[in-house]
């Protein structure tokens, strides 16, 4: 069975499974979560979340190993899975919206979003625009006004290169202000940590990043959040932060985190993973684990996730064209 149309095949496969074969599929013997980055980053957190969740809920027999395959925000792992291990039911690979963005601008080589089977998402983070606590900019409106006055008066600092998610967020802010994104000042650092240090040191004025990694700093009162790029306020202690939407700006940037498997993984194994994640994400214990890792709920699996991924990739590709990233 080679699923040339993963979506339809998976739906059919799922139905077949549901019809009676469900009990016949055994759990993979050597489950492995591939984090396509060096240890310590967001992909690592995604894998560790699945690892500890699956272990605590006893959904898998053998403990899952986490391995690292860094390179191009997932490009190396994507290529390795599609080309070398397409039928390995053990290998689950973490992805994020960042991977989808790079996929959309063609940085994953010859492959497209249809080349793997999207299993499930486990949570999401949201973009954030922040300044130092003593900054004269107090709201997103202030920032937009400052940009309108002189786009070069504000230096943005972020952990991603031009064309990355962090950059996209700033380009979208520029678009809100009605100024050309090519006229703004954007400085890319090696990772969010360095960009944040530069913000604290006053070397840049505005920080663009993810709310999860900034949470401890927000609590410490070191930074002032201009806007969280989510449609609604976040639950819990981050609920005091204003969203861009409530300030009158249509600007939302979720960073979805989830997993995929190789294109030739059998329907039975694929469905096993989908169902396992369905059970896992429904578990209240998992919600706590997710919260510990500063992630918000975002649960999609199987065909629903596949549709979301393809829609997101198309959306990113359109944005990239609009911002002249691709021709």
């Amino acid at each position: 069975m080679t699923p040339t149309l993963p979506l339809r095949a998976s739906v059919i496969g799922g139905l077949l499974l549901a019809l009676g074969a469900a009990g016949a599929v055994a759990a993979p013997e050597k489950p492995e979560c591939i984090a396509p980055a060096k240890p310590g980053g967001g992909f690592d957190i995604t894998c560790k979340l699945a690892q500890s969740g699956l272990q605590e809920s006893k959904l898998i027999g053998a403990p899952m190993r986490v391995t690292y395959m860094p390179g191009g925000i997932g490009a190396v792992a994507y290529n390795a899975i599609v080309a070398q291990r397409p039928a390995d039911p053990n290998a689950l690979v973490a992805f994020s919206s960042g991977s989808l963005l790079n996929l959309a601008i063609g940085k994953f080589g010859q492959y497209t979003a249809s080349d793997v089977r999207w299993v499930a998402s486990v949570g999401t983070d949201y973009g954030v625009i922040a300044v130092r606590a003593d900054s004269p900019l107090k709201t997103l409106k202030d920032l937009v006004a400052a940009l309108q006055k002189d786009p070069a008066s504000v230096a943005f600092g972020a952990g991603g290169t031009v064309g990355s998610q962090d950059w996209m967020k700033t380009a979208l802010v520029a678009r809100l202000a009605g100024v050309n994104h090519q006229g703004m000042r954007y400085v890319a650092f090696e990772g969010g940590g360095e960009a944040f240090t530069a913000l604290l040191g006053g070397h840049v004025q505005v920080y663009s990043g993810d709310v999860g990694e900034l949470a401890p700093q927000i609590e410490a009162g070191k930074v002032h959040v201009l806007a969280v790029l989510a449609d609604e306020r976040l639950p819990g202690r981050l609920g005091t932060l204003p969203t861009a939407k409530e300030q009158g700006f249509e600007l939302s940037w979720p960073i979805v985190r989830g997993f995929y498997v190789g294109p030739k993984v059998s329907d039975a194994d694929y469905q096993w993973w989908v169902q396992t994640f369905d059970k896992l994400t429904a578990d209240p214990g998992f919600a706590k684990l997710r919260e510990q890792r500063e992630l918000q709920p975002f649960t999609k699996s199987g065909a629903a996730l596949d549709a979301y991924v393809k829609e997101a990739v198309a959306r990113y590709a359109a944005l990239a064209r609009e911002f002249d990233l691709v021709k």
Partner: protein, 502 residues
């Protein structure tokens, strides 16, 4: 005297039998993992954290374990540098320059023991620095923007001027090859892929370990074939194991100075062990190398970079504890491990959970002592490794090197690339290009270029930003002094000697 109280409390925790045993276990595993090229604290932490969890260890015990592993890796990195000329990590590059020649002279034991001692001094000095100045130093780290980092790089490069061998043009070319290799991959400012030839395997650039294994390990294997020693071991006699009092006296001033300098550089996020050990080595060489003994097995060339390396490893705790920003790749992993215990390093940690901070600092002290106690007896054991016949040792080195390379990306591509570098490295070494210059150029390349460009973007192209702040100005003056000072001093001295004679 809150500080002292907390610290004493921390020691009280560290000295329980269980925690001492954990410190020993962590130190041992850390040393072993650290000496394997390509493997580091990340792997050490990865092995031990699940065990710590399974054992249900309380956070302070887990912290002690973590600190011991972390410091153990820093100690371990020097061992392969000295014994087989393959740096176990970036901080150990400089250690190979004099450590390996010492080993070839039959002084492997002395090199290993003096470097264990200087690592200890570096670790302890830096931990004291951590106790006294941590919160103050957070501001020092913040003062470093792109322009200041660039000035620091210029200073480091000016120090490298001292590496100039008999043929300066070769040193320069070696550095440039390293710098060019560092250009490969996604450009972190513009996002452009440079020299990747549309291959995703190069998207993140060439990995440090691939370069080290290629230019050091594989080229070394090929060079060994030319020597008459085929079929025998590299070094027959291992000589005495411990340094003597004279040697210790000789190294004391430079070890201490390197420790202090290394700590301050380690505090800067991202700068760390490579730069601090390079600067320590070069400054020491500038000050003490009167007869050209550096590079041929001078004991101070081993102790100074090791002291700086370990001091900076400890220094990188400052940004983590005070700012919640990882100061190095390894502290990133530590932060991840701490997060599992619901400990979030950052500005609030000193206020909310002082016992954790001081527990960590106490465990750094304990870890250093344990490592010294552990490493001195291990000297004999490691030196023995050299007596293994080449027919077994060389394939072993090749296999361990390959594992180191594979552990980063898990791709065949990197393995092949490292062999290609090995062949190039063999030719370069035959032509007497200094490999350590090449590798330093590679290690610093990205930071030099990116910080220069960041600084200029911040100033909108106005060059003055590069020396406007007091910090960067000081560094520029230091750089000029490093370049001009030594020859000037030499001339002065010669002049004075002539006067005295006249």
């Amino acid at each position: 005297m809150d500080t002292l109280n907390y610290l004493l409390q921390g020691f009280g925790v560290a000295f329980t039998p269980l925690n001492l045993a954990l410190a020993f276990a962590g130190a041992f595993i850390g040393t072993i993992v650290g000496l394997l090229p390509g493997l580091g604290p990340i792997n050490g932490v990865a092995i031990l954290m699940p065990i710590a969890f399974a054992m249900g260890l309380p956070p302070e015990s887990a912290l002690i374990l973590l600190a011991a592993v972390y410091m153990g890796c820093e100690y371990g990195g020097r061992i392969s540098s000295i014994l087989i000329n393959v740096p176990g990590d970036a901080g150990a590059i400089m250690t190979a320059i004099d450590g390996y020649p010492m080993a070839r002279k039959g002084l492997a034991g002395v090199a290993l023991s003096i470097s264990a001692w200087s690592s200890f001094v570096g670790g302890v000095v830096a931990t004291i620095g951590l106790v006294l100045f941590a919160p103050l130093l957070a501001n020092w780290a913040l003062a470093f923007g792109p322009a200041e980092y660039f000035a620091l790089m210029v200073f480091a490069i000016a120090c490298l001027g001292g590496m100039v061998s008999d043929r300066p043009v070769k040193t320069l070319l070696a550095v440039l090859i390293g710098l060019s290799l560092a250009c490969v991959g996604v450009d972190s400012n513009s996002g452009v892929y440079r020299f990747t030839f549309n291959d995703v395997h190069l998207a993140d650039g060439v990995q440090f370990i691939v370069v080290v294994i290629g230019f050091f390990s594989i080229s070394e294997i090929l060079l060994m074939l030319e020597e008459s020693s085929i079929g025998q071991s590299i070094i027959k006699t291992t000589g005495r194991k411990l340094f003597n009092r004279q040697e210790m006296k000789e190294t004391n001033p430079s070890t201490l100075a390197s420790s202090i300098g290394g700590f301050f550089i380690g505090v800067l996020p991202g700068a760390g062990a490579t730069i601090s050990s390079a600067i320590a080595y070069m400054v020491t060489k500038r000050v003490y190398d009167k007869d050209g003994s550096f590079g041929k097995g001078d004991i101070r060339g081993v102790s100074a970079p090791e002291a700086a390396n370990n001091a900076s490893a400890t220094g990188s705790f400052v940004p983590m504890l005070c700012l919640g920003v990882p100061g190095s790749g390894t502290t990133t992993v530590m932060m991840g491990a701490l997060a599992l215990y619901n400990i979030t390093p950052g500005p609030m940690l000193f206020q909310n959970q002082p016992e954790i901070v001081w527990g960590l600092i106490a465990s750094l002290f304990v870890g250093n002592v344990v490592l010294l106690v552990l490493n001195i007896p291990l000297v004999g054991f490691f030196a023995k490794m050299l007596t293994v016949p080449n027919a077994t040792l060389v394939p072993g080195i090749a296999a361990a090197s390959a594992v180191g390379v594979y552990s980063v990306h898990a791709t065949t591509f990197d393995l092949v690339l490292s062999v290609a570098f090995g062949v190039l490295g063999y030719l370069l070494r035959k032509l007497q290009f200094p490999m350590s210059s090449l590798i330093l150029g590679f290690a610093l390349g990205d930071m030099i270029e990116q910080n220069l460009r960041r600084a200029l973007s911040l100033s909108n192209g106005e060059v003055g930003i590069l020396w406007h702040s007091p910090v960067s100005l000081t560094l520029w003056i230091g750089a000029v002094a490093m370049l001009v000072g030594p020859p000037l001093l030499r001339r002065l001295r010669r002049g004075r000697a002539a006067l005295a004679v006249g």
